[in-house]
Symmetry: C2
Subunit: 102 residues, 2 copies
DNA sequence: ATCGTTGATCGTAAATGTACGATGATACAA
DNA sequence: TTGTATCATCGTACATTTACGATCAACGAT
């Protein structure tokens, strides 16, 4: 998978306000449970679960079972990779801006 | 529109490899024409045009007519806002990581 | 053994995204 | 006027996303 494809997948995982809020929550605290989120957001539990799966499949979070709950944390390694990709491959101003081609 | 919604919209605009590549191209040079992109990418011209519209509607690029071509540039103001939002609202490590709740 | 709690998964409907070829619009050139 | 070049838009087909309620699975408690 190319860098651009990776970047696009991370961006896709973040392309919904609920998922942004979940990620923001998890950068501000160590972890949370599915139940915390279903209380906090006015959407169905099954929809929350879907968003959590999207974030998990993108590698941005990980869940561990703590019966009867499931605890979610940031996957710090991948989250930092995403951060690094955005910063160095998209937002970097370091490159010389060439004059207009053709 | 909330900050999270803005972030999600910017992320959505970036959620495709072609659009990532277009943005990357435009951070490395001042501008490009639609024709440059249709040559460079192995997809139909109408599809390129669609991706350009998505980026334009998200505010990340802007086009100006230079008959018979159309010149696209980054919308620096909004692009920097996107950058700032990602850095300060998503990727910032500055906040204290609280211990696990509930 | 049955119940209760928690959260994932299924089935489904509506909306959105992605790709293509065809067509339309604009203005310059012959 | 009739082409030519460039790019947007239309129409369309297929896939994906998003949302919901219903159901399932796991396991501790009664």
């Amino acid at each position: 998978m190319t860098t651009d494809e990776k970047l696009a997948l991370y961006a896709k995982a973040l392309a919904h306000p609920i998922r942004i809020q979940i990620i923001r929550l998890l950068t501000g605290q160590a972890c949370c449970y599915t139940g915390d989120l279903t209380q906090q957001f006015p959407i169905a539990q099954s929809t929350i679960s879907q968003h959590l799966r999207a974030l998990k499949e993108a590698g941005l979070i990980q869940g561990t079972i703590e019966r009867p709950k499931v605890k979610y944390c940031l996957n710090r390694e991948n989250f930092e990779e995403a951060q690094r990709l955005f910063e160095t491959h998209l937002f970097s101003d370091e490159r010389f801006i060439k004059s207009c081609a053709s």
